[in-house]
């Protein structure tokens, strides 16, 4: 006999079958489970629980790590969903040293800046491509700057770097500019107190071409300045670790993130 009481109660919670995803961050949850921050294609960023993933000999624990392409299914109607299927969708992207820290940096940016459960499909593709490039690229600066600019654009704060803000004049490689939040690229008059950006740096960023070593510092400062209002007061931990590792340890000026 059908139970007439409260039919809503018998409805199954919504299931999302099969999508590509990455774990951005994991932490232990209860004795045997993991609480994950997942970035899924078509799903955006969302928290999920992998039940029993930390039991001995559960292969999910090896898979549920950052930079491992995954094939996932989830169930649940609340904010935190439950993973029902976990498969590897290819080999883990092997990042070492600076590239690994850059990978942590991308994950931290996504966690700090993406609202939960906006799909952000294009950004997912950019993220996946950026990770693949991190594994082989030695020009981390260009890669990180391009990802930062794409992330800002995706959030609705895209920068126009190839035109001067007020006049709309095209930026010229041999001129000096400065950047103001809210306003954009401005021509630097003699005595401008803001840090100077060369036109060539702005054009390289706008066109997505490789940054010359001399442009890296300017480009990094510009992106930092543009990200700062969205990141708030709390410092980025991955940036801090980078400074400790490569700044203190080797006294190196370059700092891609």
């Amino acid at each position: 006999m059908q139970n007439p009481v409260n039919p809503v109660h018998f409805e199954n919670p919504p299931v999302v079958q099969g999508f590509q995803g990455f774990v951005l961050h994991r932490r232990d949850y209860t004795n045997t489970s993991l609480l994950l921050e997942v970035f899924g294609s078509g799903q955006g960023r969302f928290p999920a629980i992998a039940k029993g993933a930390r039991r001995p000999r559960n292969p999910a624990s090896a898979l549920l790590q950052p930079f491992q392409p995954l094939w996932l299914a989830v169930v649940g109607r609340g904010e935190v969903r439950t993973l029902t299927r976990i498969e590897g969708a290819g080999r883990p992207i092997s990042l070492q040293g600076r590239a690994l820290l850059a990978g942590f940096y991308l994950n931290e940016l996504l966690i700090r800046l993406l609202g939960r459960q906006d799909p952000h499909d294009r950004l997912f593709d950019s993220y996946q491509a950026a990770l693949a490039q991190l594994a082989k690229a030695d020009d981390l600066d260009t890669l990180l700057r391009q990802f930062e600019l794409r992330l800002l654009a995706e959030l609705g704060y895209g920068l126009t770097l190839d035109r001067e803000a007020d006049s709309g004049e095209p930026v010229r490689a041999d001129r000096s500019y400065y950047f103001e939040i809210e306003r954009g690229v401005q021509t630097a008059a003699p005595g401008t107190r803001e840090p100077i950006l060369s036109g060539s740096t702005l054009l390289a960023l706008a066109r997505g071409i490789s940054l010359e070593p001399t442009q890296r510092h300017e480009a990094r400062r510009l992106c930092r300045q543009a990200l700062a209002p969205h990141l708030g007061e709390r410092p980025l931990q991955s940036r801090e670790l980078y400074r400790r590792w490569y700044g203190d340890l080797h006294r190196i000026e370059h700092e891609p993130a």
């Binding site: 951005l24 961050h25 932490r27 004795n31 000999r57 292969p59 090896a62 898979l63 790590q65 950052p66 930079f67 491992q68 590897g88 080999r91 883990p92 990042l95 070492q96 040293g97 690994l100 820290l101 942590f104 940096y105 994950n107 931290e108 966690i111 931990q237 991955s238 801090e240 670790l241 400790r244 590792w245 340890l249």
Partner: protein, 198 residues
């Protein structure tokens, strides 16, 4: 409003144990009160004592009621070998399973920038001064093979290299009695790349 009985407080307090939910906590409380008060009293006393007196070993950061733990204080251990582990429980596992006679260093976690766990939280400055002050000839990294674990291992390897200390990492591979078919791909790939001549 009724005051919370001592019994309820005991049951609540027992729930801080790992794997103990309300039901188990209740069973443990009744068992101790009805059948083993002596054991319960002893547990309470040792627990209070341990919580108060067990601190971290000054040299290796493992748990000990002495300033130097038993292993660090033992002059017959080989001070040239230093094994880095994440947790004190791993020292016990290594001591039981291997004939390692060197010394240890406990990190207490892994580098995890997103959780704000950096070199300072892991005592890497203490480790570095040990590499500087002690005659360490080999640093053995027994750190779990996760992404964060490998970041930690590389960080330590970088700083050990500056002190001219040889760094090794324990092997990763197929568990004994495991069948290849059921081993996850990542482990199998590591086992393959780390193969040895017979």
């Amino acid at each position: 409003m009724t005051e919370r009985s001592l019994l309820n407080q005991l049951i609540d307090a027992l729930r801080c144990l790992p794997g103990v939910g309300p039901k188990s906590a209740q069973r443990i409380a009744f068992h101790l009160l009805e059948r083993n008060r002596e054991g319960g009293a002893r547990l309470a006393q040792i627990m209070a004592d341990a919580m108060l007196r067990i601190q971290r070993c000054r040299r290796c950061r493992t748990l000990s009621e002495h300033e130097l733990c038993g292993i660090c204080a033992n002059p017959r251990r080989d001070a040239g070998l230093l094994c880095v582990v994440e947790q004190p429980s791993e020292i016990v596992a290594i001591e039981q399973a291997t004939d390692f006679r060197g010394l240890y260093f406990v990190l207490g976690g892994r580098l995890s920038p997103l959780d704000g766990i950096g070199p300072d939280e892991l005592g890497l400055d203490v480790l570095e001064s040990r590499l500087h002050d002690e005659p360490v000839s080999e640093l053995i990294l027994a750190i779990s093979p996760t992404v964060e674990g490998s970041a930690t291992a590389h960080y330590i390897a970088d700083s050990a290299a500056r002190h001219g200390v040889r760094v090794t990492r324990i092997a990763h591979g197929v568990p004994l009695g495991g069948e290849l078919e059921y081993v996850d791909g990542g482990t199998l790939a590591l086992a393959f790349s780390g193969r040895r001549a017979l």
